[in-house]
Amino acid sequence: MRKHIYLIGLFLVTSLLFSCGSPQDSEIATVSSTDRNNTMESTENLESVELNGDSRTLKILYWQAPSILNPYLSSGTKDIESSSLIVEPLARYDSVDGEMVPWLASTIPTMANGGLASDYRSITWNLRTDVIWSDGTSFTAADVVFTWMYCSNEEFGCVSSNAFKDVAQVVAVDTHTVRVEFTKPMYFPYGPFVGSLTPIIQKEQFKDCLGAAAQACTEQNFNPVGTGPFMVEDFKANDVITFIANPNYREEGKPYFQKVIFKGGGEASSAARAVLETGEFDYAWNLQVEPEVLEGMQDTGKGELLTGFGSNVERIMVNQTNNDSSLGREKRSLYLDGTNPHPFLSDLNVRRALSLAIDRSILVEVGYGDTGRPMCNVIPAPSKFVSDNNEECKTQNIEEANRLLDEAGWVRGRDGVRAKDGIRLSMLYQTSTNSVRQDTQALVKEWWSQIGVETELRHIDGAVFFGSDQGSPDTLGKFYADVQMYTNNFEGIDPSEYVESWVCEEVPGPHNDWNASNIPRGCSADFDALVEQLEVTEESQDRIETIKQINDFVVQNYWEIPLIWRARVSAKSVSLKGVKMNGWDSELWNVADWYRE
């Protein structure tokens, strides 16, 4: 009988041992995996870190954890930004208005310095000669050529392939000169190799990873050789990266930090707390949290917020096609050559009234604080492209909105909702799940009710809403709603490709698997003519004017109702200096210059 008690005891003890035994194993495992290369080196590093205390260790927190350190295989911004510590492009965008600064190139090629061909069909980059890869070999034109071959391979599925779609070939003129040749005249030829999406990877390391083989190159994807200030010491996918300073970095005495801990996971508000309140981390990324929450956290004085304005505009897309659920898959939210217009949003007066009723400054106050500004354009920056013809939207004018609707014959019914010919102004307003967006929805709903428009609110999980699952009715591409809200932007500093997104050809539908970018489904021959004109305009001032006209066309037709110019918002500890928040490139673009006071 007694032995049964022992059995129970045995069970408890084994379960105890079972869970206690594992950490030892894990230690052996981690030690062997991290130190497999060179035990000597890492002990030295450990010592130097200890000598300098914690002050030479930079702790960065991204609430989305990096999964891979090869930006060409990234699954999100977190991968692109974490890899920007290692691999670098030829030129980056500056934090001020996105001006280009040469990075691995010695100068920015222009017509004036002969870098840009007079027919705009090729651009020649001169590379810096003092750049060395972290493995000690020198950086040459062959690496740049290889990067193009790597990403443009048809069997690869490269994230940045769009940057290379007009590239005919990339030629190494000599060891430190590269010529990019285009298939057509490119009036903005700085797409490839500029910005965080197209950094240069090492040919030597990736030469066996071309095409379909790229998927199997785990070692390369987890530990790319780079020219940047840091190199990977240990990478735990979806969790944490340990970087150490690159001993071959081109600038003497940089980077200041000897070690970077790049932790991922969690969510935005606790990430903000870790920098602003507890001070456990030095830098936290992308903190879209209500302003009053952030303000409360800042009171402790341990950290401060950083904002960087790029081209992000939170906007409401106005569906120009009928999305009635009774229409079925063959008709719902499809353009069908204009035969399926929206019952009331096809009326310009209604769309204009919707925009006029919104008080953008209150939206900023409630949801964004210093991290947002009222915006009336879909192209908010760089400053030269910004139109000043739409300032009307910055002041709310409910009276005018009501007058417009009255004039257009929309009469208030007994329930306060306007109607005409039996069509009620009743809408479905969808967006992604995010507390700031839900606050915005509630406010807008209230204002719209004041002009006799009834609104039903709906929010969808971001992974579904921003995804493009063919089978899902809830994606932004399907747009099975009357209006929807999210933030869009354009890559880099040149909107000329972005403005093409509203042409008729880009209207999503089954013929292109809803993989097209004209989400509001506005279609106009006049607009398409403007875009065609832009494609053949050479002179830069004329291009700027055309781009402004295109912006005005979209905004004044209210295909999209811009609301807020959104900054990227991150936080840093007060002791961290040298951070220049960038809204155009990777936020960590100048991490080599960061230091601690």
Binding site: H4, L7, I8, F11, L12, S15, L16, S19, C20, S22, P23, D25, S26, S67, I68, S75, G76, T77, F156, G157, V159, S160, S161, N162, A212, Q215, T218, N221, F222, K236, A237, N238, V240, T242, I261, G265, G266, E267, S270, R273, A274, E277, T278, E280, A463, F466, G467, S468, G471, D474, T475, G477, N488, N489, E491, Y498, N512, W514, N515, A516
Partner: protein, 337 residues
């Protein structure tokens, strides 16, 4: 008993295959997209190409069979080759189950995460048991005493307050206000000396407390009920009539009998250790299996979710069997044939 075990294991195979198929179908039909988190500036055509390359657009049966082959044939072969150093067939061409986001083998990711989960969640389970059993026994023995009342109250609180609330409460108290404990679990920490060991203890206190509190609350109620049931049994009265001391009755007779259902409960709960405490791991940023699962779900990483949930299913089936067998071992009246 061996015959019984073999029969149960044989039955488990078709069950698990059905489970894996149902899981895959559910995952495939769920609206998720591995390119959904890419910046919006990446055009739709490029996304489509990435999805093609990943095999997301494969028809459902192709995807499932591909996973079956990779998981049931290629992975075991790989493990065998790693263990023995032999190579069977063309091992370089053999595709392992690969995650969409990291493009690295799923099994490696899981093995990387397992220690943290076992350490944190496993320890909290053990702590929970160690707290719950004495509390349960004493509460039952001294029913309606002040100890029982307090025990009931505390376990009700532990039972009904969700871990995301207690976790946050502890962070605000011990990290933000007092600054005693770290709110973020440091996975790069290596225990080499006493100070790093102390740091490891410090960063484990809060997650382990939160989970142990929750586990203990459930188990102590169960233990109490079980002891109460036995207290009024005939054999207890007989023992008392024989003049045995209360203590001897409690420890020698009641405890053993009332442990029977509790041990089964504990065994059935073991698989939940492996599935991690999803919410608690997320709050304290412990990179365990629950954390991995959430990340996979958010990124539409179908093969990773499928492999993880399938492993959980195997563990649950296995521990159900173990619980049954244990019951037979503990209670000689039960015989499996």
């Amino acid at each position: 008993m061996l015959k019984y075990t073999t029969r149960r294991l044989m039955f488990a195979i078709p069950t698990l295959i059905v489970i894996s198929f149902v899981l895959y179908v559910l995952l495939d039909l769920a609206p998720s997209d591995p390119t959904g988190n890419l910046p919006l500036t990446i055009p739709p055509e490029v996304r489509e190409k990435i999805r093609d390359q990943l095999g997301v657009n494969d028809p459902i049966h192709v995807g499932y069979l591909k996973w079956m082959r990779q998981f049931f044939i290629n992975e075991p072969l790989h493990i065998f080759e790693q263990a023995t150093g032999l190579s069977i067939g063309d091992s370089s061409e053999r595709v392992r189950v690969v995650s969409f986001t990291t493009r690295s083998p799923v099994v490696d990711l899981i093995l990387d995460r397992l220690p943290q989960t076992l350490w944190v969640v496993g320890l909290s389970y053990v702590v929970g048991i160690l707290i719950a059993l004495p509390i349960g026994v004493i509460s039952a023995y001294k029913q309606y005493s002040w100890f029982d009342q307090i025990g009931t109250f505390v376990s009700m609180v532990g039972f009904s307050v969700p871990t995301f609330f207690t976790g946050l409460l502890l962070i605000i108290l011990f990290s933000s206000t007092l600054g005693w404990l770290p709110s973020i679990y440091d996975t790069t920490l290596r225990v080499t000396d006493f100070s790093s060991f102390w740091q490891q203890v410090k960063q484990m206190i809060m997650p382990v407390t939160v989970l142990a509190f929750y586990n203990a609350a459930q188990l102590s109620r169960f233990m109490r009920a079980s002891v109460l049931e036995n207290l009024n049994q005939d054999y207890v009265r007989t023992a008392r009539a024989k003049g045995m001391k209360d203590r001897a009755i409690l420890v020698g007779h009641i405890l053993r009998n009332s442990m029977l259902p509790v041990v089964t409960m504990i065994a059935l709960g073991v698989p939940t250790i492996f599935s991690g405490a999803i919410i608690t791991e997320q709050i304290f940023r412990v990179n365990g299996l629950g954390h991995l699962l959430i990340h996979a779900i958010q990124n539409g990483d179908i093969y990773l979710i499928q492999s993880l949930t399938f492993i959980f299913a195997v563990l649950i089936v296995l521990f159900n069997l173990i619980a049954d067998l244990l019951y037979g071992v503990l209670d000689p009246r039960i015989k499996y044939t």
